[in-house]
């Protein structure tokens, strides 16, 4: 099985290059892409990639596999390998630190902008802030995001304006708090998003929806934010 790896070590390489590695895949087993990377690292310890939980919970191993972003740990080889070849590249559009490791600073900066925490200055009740089951249901499909950055780095609008467009991941989180019945900062949140770039650079390309490893729908959330912004303006 031929695996083509994006390699770059800033200390020794003047430019990134692709390295072809032949990997022996055990017969009759459908390994995950991360397992194959681990096999490669056993032979060449200089291969750098992030990984932690190996079950799609931590969001560390987002990468580009045969052209599609996803989490290596929950992507079976049978799903991505084409013509017995696998090409692994770092997430597109972010600066590469080394091999498959990208600098996520821009991504986190956009996340920080949407105030990803509950804002409620009313005195805290003795036990906890309650919510009806119906209100809680409105957060389903929003709170599950693990910030793996697969969506934002698959988004052409984010590639163009990673400094000004919040990106699908950040906007999903923005709506997660806009939709929260316990949050009292809706007006402030919307004001922060009310400019030509933060939300409206989304062109409905929907790459984010097709790559999200958790099956979430950022485009839908962005649609809701648009509605809120338009309602507010009229």
């Amino acid at each position: 099985m031929l695996v083509s790896l994006y390699r770059y070590n800033p200390e020794t390489d003047s430019a990134p290059y692709m390295q072809d590695v032949e990997v022996d895949i055990p017969e009759g087993k459908d390994l995950m892409v991360l397992d194959v990377l681990n096999l490669i690292k056993e032979r060449d310890s200089s291969m750098a990639y992030r990984r932690s939980c190996r079950e799609g919970v931590c969001g560390s191993d987002g990468m580009n596999m045969n052209g599609t972003n996803g989490l290596a740990c929950i992507t079976p080889m049978s799903q991505v390998v084409k013509k017995n070849k696998l090409v692994l590249r770092p997430l597109p559009g972010l600066p590469v630190i080394r091999d498959l490791v990208v600098d996520m600073s821009l991504f986190y900066k956009q996340y920080e902008k949407v105030m990803p925490y509950l804002v409620n200055d009313t005195p805290a009740p003795a036990i906890e802030r309650l919510q009806t089951p119906e209100d809680r249901e409105k957060l389903d499909g929003l709170y599950e995001c693990i910030l793996c950055a697969c969506c934002s780095t698959a988004c052409p609008s984010f590639w163009w304006n990673p400094d000004k467009f919040i990106g699908p991941s950040g906007l999903l989180q923005a709506y997660r708090f806009l939709a929260d019945s316990r949050d009292t900062a809706q007006a402030e949140r919307l004001s922060n998003l009310d400019d030509p770039f933060s939300v409206f650079r989304c062109r409905g390309i929907m790459n984010c929806v097709s790559v999200c490893p958790k099956g979430l729908n950022p485009t839908k959330a962005i649609g809701h934010i648009r509605n809120l912004l338009l309602q507010r303006a009229t």
């Binding site: 070590n9 200390e11 690292k41 310890s45 750098a48 990639y49 630190i97 080394r98 091999d99 490791v101």
Partner: protein, 114 residues
Amino acid sequence: MTVRAWKKGLQKLEAIGERVRNTKLTDTSNAFNTARIEALELDNLFEVALATAISAFERKESRGAHARNDFTERDDENWLKHSMYFPLDKRVGKRDVNFAPKTVETFQPKVRTY
């Protein structure tokens, strides 16, 4: 656990220990060096594994997941203790579990004079 199985396990551990002592880090880069992290993890994991195996042998009782065929009963008389392993002098010790309640009485705020 039987003594024979334990001895076999310890032999295997010692063989691994020999290999751990011979590990070499070929990647000395300062850029996101995951090989170095794994090398440090290897040392720490082995240290803990060895301490676990040796302390388990010394603990002559069964307690929870620590199950022995030669000492099948829990022994609170002698073993309501913390196991300690000192790698430098390869010594096993134990320490009483401190059951004294940890409470601090409230007191009035006042000026600190020394």
